[in-house]
Symmetry: C2
DNA sequence: GTGAAAGCGCTAACAA
DNA sequence: TTGTTAGCGCTTTCAC
């Protein structure tokens, strides 16, 4: 048996041709070779009809779940379909009927961000309740990829689309809407197109975070934020700036670091701040990645929890509780449910005026945001 | 402006008809009503052909990216397509060509589990490299939902399927394979069907966890595990049991709690153990959910880190480092890449013998697993 | 309750 | 380089 491993793998080896560290267990070929089976030609409705001695149309009725078929006939067709291994050809069905597919499309930016994962999960569940499926895909925050995915979904006659968009202009989506596909924007508002959207009250979130720390007596409050083009980042920062401006806390802008989308990037920003001339006594983290980055850096630099700078994070992720992290929380799940409701509402009433929903945020105090600044001032 | 919120929402209100806590910002209707536009009838290739004064076939060639078209003709068709807002009908295209769609299907069990999220992310990226899209959906660990999704994907003539299966028997997948769609099983092995698979060396993982704690002198080692039907859980437990059995650590089976899939469930199990007659001095957590649950419970019961029971978790999640959690780690990303390689390999060579890959695991020591048992024994 | 014919929008084969 | 013809597998009329 192999050993317990040899350190981290070569990062992203493009095509691991050789098995590398993996153990290959050649499955012994059992006695049922699949070569004996017919070629990859699919069973068609016509074959089922012939086998059960009915017309094509009757077979179609049965397999399409239509009424007005004698139950004896129905059973016969069903049996034939089962024994032949019939699988409906969705493409043909869609083409003939002119209907749209039975799934919603969801384009998100990053599967591994727990916030989007929670959102996707909730959308999935809401979708299922309405007897629709969900086709989830990720743009990797690339506008080009996003548009490609959106086009592809539209070409596939997807029923409706929910998008966490990384595009700065959504005029192109108008083209898709015009073919009868509702589009709902989540987390980031629609720009340049009339469409429904659900977003968070980000301005208020940023403001609450700053005010919470100001109330503890902090003045040197740092802000760690995401990409500057992200509407969520801009709005959260706007709220932060508003509260800081009002507070008279001095030249707070020196302690602002934005543009870091992942944990390593944000961590660098924190390191930079902590080794700067004016070390902050508190941090506002603009999302869950930066929250984690700030925590990692603080924990490693300040072994005693009580002596650490304060921090208010964003997004109430699963690990926030155990780390005693004060956060600006919101309901990702609620956002998902609302998005599905909007999409279905518009499916039922395409001409309804666009709706923009703004969901509330709130502070959850867990200790990290209630630490006082050091007395030596 | 509304206040900062009013506690947690009513859990899963089925259809939030009224706006509730959300602010509705009615978007002012701009001057471009979309009522003036033509109905939702799509532009067809025939219309593009007519508009650019070429045959249907030539238009098809241009829009299908085929060669052997005069560049002047090509431009003319492209221009017409653009100005008419042509969108290819994928269903018709697939039907006529008999090809399969340009995406892989991935069925996973739980979008919000960071392990599966990382897996999906990597599969997405590997897939994109090969100019294919990814259609991700979640079964919610329901075998029925999984099969429905698999059938639907197959009916849509999805190119190939990667599954984190919650079914106990996979014979049904054979039917899908027979129509020419490769199926690869990830994280959980194929049962009852000949198919490629990539899994972790779970037995060894469970064994390493137990041995690590035994080496620190622990004897009262608890095990917190997932659903008993999960192959990963069974194998991890098997490894744990093997190490414990060899160790002569007494009646260790009393300290085993399995069947908890989510954090609250696992947390209950930990509470139960900690208030039992024989409190464990160490924990092995069978996955990242139970790791978090154990940590939450230990942190809340034992304010001093040094006095806490030891813990070795499973899955190297993002928050493990900041919490000093010793884990059994593996490469979820590697698993994803291998799965895509297998799927593409089989696409190129359908008759190749099934391959089973087993990826290695290893211990990452971060402190929580190196705590000694209390001296009072 | 059942069936015949037409055609959804596109591509494959072949011809010109 | 371009066009013609014949379907792909299904659903929709509309008849019986």
């Amino acid at each position: 048996m192999h050993t317990s491993g040899s350190g981290r793998p070569a990062a992203h080896s493009p095509r691991p041709a050789a098995p590398g560290g993996a153990r290959v267990a050649g499955t012994p070929s059992p006695a049922t070779p699949q070569a004996a089976l017919p070629p990859a030609r699919r069973v068609t409705l016509a074959q089922v009809a012939r086998a059960s001695d009915v017309s094509l149309k009757t077979a179609s009725r049965v397999l399409g779940g239509e009424p007005h078929v004698a139950s004896a006939t129905r059973e016969r067709v069903l049996a034939a379909a089962r024994s032949l291994g019939y699988q409906r050809n969705t493409a043909a069905s869609l083409l003939a009927s002119g209907r749209r597919a039975d799934y919603l499309g969801l384009i998100t930016g990053d599967l591994t961000n727990p916030f989007y994962a929670a959102l996707a999960q909730e959308i999935e569940e809401s979708t299922r309740v309405h007897h629709l499926r969900l086709n989830l895909s990720s743009s990797g925050e690339s506008p080009e990829t996003e548009w490609e995915l959106a086009r592809s979904l539209s070409d596939q006659r997807c029923r409706a689309l929910i998008v966490v968009s990384s595009m700065s202009d959504h005029a192109g989506y108008g083209e898709l809407q015009r073919t009868g596909m509702p589009v709902v924007f989540v987390d980031r508002p629609a720009r340049g197109v009339e469409a429904d959207s659900v977003v968070l009250d980000n301005v208020r979130g940023g403001q609450l975070a700053a005010e919470h720390l100001l109330a503890q007596g902090h003045r040197d409050i740092a802000y760690i934020g995401d990409y500057d083009w992200l509407p969520t980042q801009r709005e959260r920062f706007e709220g932060f700036a508003r509260a800081m401006g009002r507070s008279g806390a001095g030249p707070w802008r020196d302690l602002v670091r934005t543009g870091a989308h992942d944990v390593p990037g944000a961590r660098e920003a924190v390191q930079d701040l902590l080794s700067g001339a004016r070390a902050p006594s508190a941090f506002v983290a603009g999302n869950n990645r930066s929250s984690l980055a700030v925590l990692q850096e603080l924990v490693s630099r300040f072994p005693q929890p009580a002596s650490r700078p304060a921090i208010v994070g964003f997004d109430d992720v699963e690990w926030a509780e155990v780390l005693g992290l004060t956060v600006i929380a919101h309901e990702a799940g609620e956002m998902g449910r609302r998005a599905v409701d909007l999409v279905l509402g518009r499916l039922g009433n395409p001409d309804r005026a666009p709706v923009s929903l703004v969901l509330p945020v709130r502070v959850i105090a867990r200790g990290s945001g209630e630490l006082a600044p050091p007395p030596t001032r």
